[in-house]
């Protein structure tokens, strides 16, 4: 029964990360190119338009190939009834997730270089800024921050409770606490950088920037809560010798954080609601 559930959830992971979300992202990229063409919105395309078409095609192909590889892996696992003889199922889930995550990482990196090219091409000497402070509380309700902090504390205390509050460097609790603290510190740094860091896109309006900050802050706070809960689940699985549930917990966790990050980002920022007029050709004087 657990095996069947694992296969279903692994299939869901393949479809979610390599078919559903990539398809949404692909449609979004194509929508922008179709509705905001480079002859009318030249500032949006610092590279030749063919590069964007090629990039979109490669992105789609890469995701199809990863999805196909996932389906082959899943079929082989079902046929040979892999119970960890070849590879531990939770390791398989994690490794496959890393592979699925690569196209998204490539998109993120290419976005940085796209903004860099936009900044280089930007000839405007006028820069603008809002005259009011940005604070985290304006982007996410403080109760969520408290909840994230509390779940982090509870997860760490729970880990030490399972080890009878004996602090040992080799224990799982200390190791988990260090990982959780590092992950949360990284998230805090990312949020801070989004709030106060340099504006990457030189044409972005303050309103659009605030929308982006809201999505990032919400996603990271919810992922932090999920990470703390996942840690408690993992520690419980180890404590109560329920190892067969480990791959299930892993794939569910990965899918939940995907929904909170990618799902939230795609759902909250509608392309039509962004201001594309700023990318238009400047009128000739």
């Amino acid at each position: 029964m657990i095996e069947i559930m694992f296969y279903i959830l692994f299939l869901s992971q393949i479809l979610l990360f390599s078919v559903y979300f990539p398809n949404k992202i692909y449609q979004r990229m194509r929508y922008v190119i179709a509705h905001y063409p480079c002859d009318q919105y030249p500032k949006l395309y610092p590279q030749p338009i063919e590069n964007y078409h090629r990039f979109h095609g490669n992105y789609r192909l890469a995701n199809w190939l990863i999805a196909a590889a996932g389906l082959v892996t899943l079929t082989l696992s079902v046929v040979f009834n892999n119970k960890g003889e070849f590879i531990e199922p939770q390791v398989l889930v994690w490794l496959f997730f890393m592979l699925q995550f690569m196209p998204i990482m490539i998109i993120e990196i290419s976005e940085f270089s796209q903004f860099k090219m936009m900044r280089t091409a930007d000839r405007s000497s006028v820069r603008s800024a809002i005259l009011s402070p940005r604070s985290l509380a304006s982007f996410i309700a403080p109760k969520w921050l408290y909840i994230a902090f509390l779940t982090l504390l509870i997860a760490i205390v729970y880990g030490f409770y399972l080890e009878d509050f004996t602090i040992s460097v080799e224990g799982s609790a200390a190791y988990a606490a260090v990982i959780l603290f590092s992950v949360n510190a990284f998230f805090a740094g990312l949020i801070y950088w989004n709030l106060y860091g340099k504006k990457l896109n030189p044409h972005q309006t303050e309103e659009d920037r605030q929308k982006a900050i809201r999505v990032v802050a919400k996603s990271l706070v919810f992922i932090s809560i999920c990470a703390s809960i996942f840690l408690m689940v993992t520690l419980s699985i180890k404590e109560y010798q329920l190892h067969s549930l480990e791959p299930l917990a892993m794939t569910v966790y990965l899918q939940v954080i995907a929904l909170f990050s990618l799902g939230n980002s795609i759902g909250s920022i509608k392309v039509d609601e962004l201001n594309f007029d700023l990318y238009k050709k400047e009128p000739l004087l």
Binding site: V126, R127, S128, S132, P133
Partner: protein, 129 residues
């Protein structure tokens, strides 16, 4: 409310900031007690050096247009509206124009005036003013 900095403008960037914040106060776009962005936020948003924004804030604080409240940040001064009308730069220029005009009238050359001005400024600085 938004402020704009033109990096090609011959007016120094910190002066543009000071002028725009004062103008915003005079036009009641920002009111006494309103918080201002941190130096880092404003500098990063405008792509300026932190020191440029810090200098503008220092001048505004000197003129009692804004007030720093430690770690809580900077706020618009309660008397900002009144204090915005005093333009120290204009006052300094006006006084110097009078003095230079008077000195020229007495026959002093521009070079002599410059040397004397630098000398007075330097000796004044040494005295700790």
């Amino acid at each position: 409310m938004e402020i704009f900095i033109d990096i090609d403008n011959p007016l120094p960037q910190f002066s543009q900031l000071v002028e725009q914040i004062k103008l915003a106060v005079q036009q009641k776009q920002i009111k006494p007690g309103d918080p201002l962005p941190s130096i880092r936020q404003l500098a990063n948003d405008l792509g300026l050096n932190n020191k440029t924004v810090a200098k503008a804030y220092r001048l505004l604080e000197r003129d009692s247009v804004i007030q720093a409240k430690g770690y809580r940040g900077s706020y618009i001064h309660p008397d900002a509206e009144k204090n915005c009308t005093v333009n120290l730069n204009e006052l300094v220029e006006e006084k110097l124009t009078d003095v230079i005009g008077m000195l020229r009238h007495t026959g002093a050359t521009d070079s002599e005036i410059r040397i004397a001005f630098t000398k007075v400024m330097n000796s004044d600085r040494k005295r700790g003013n």
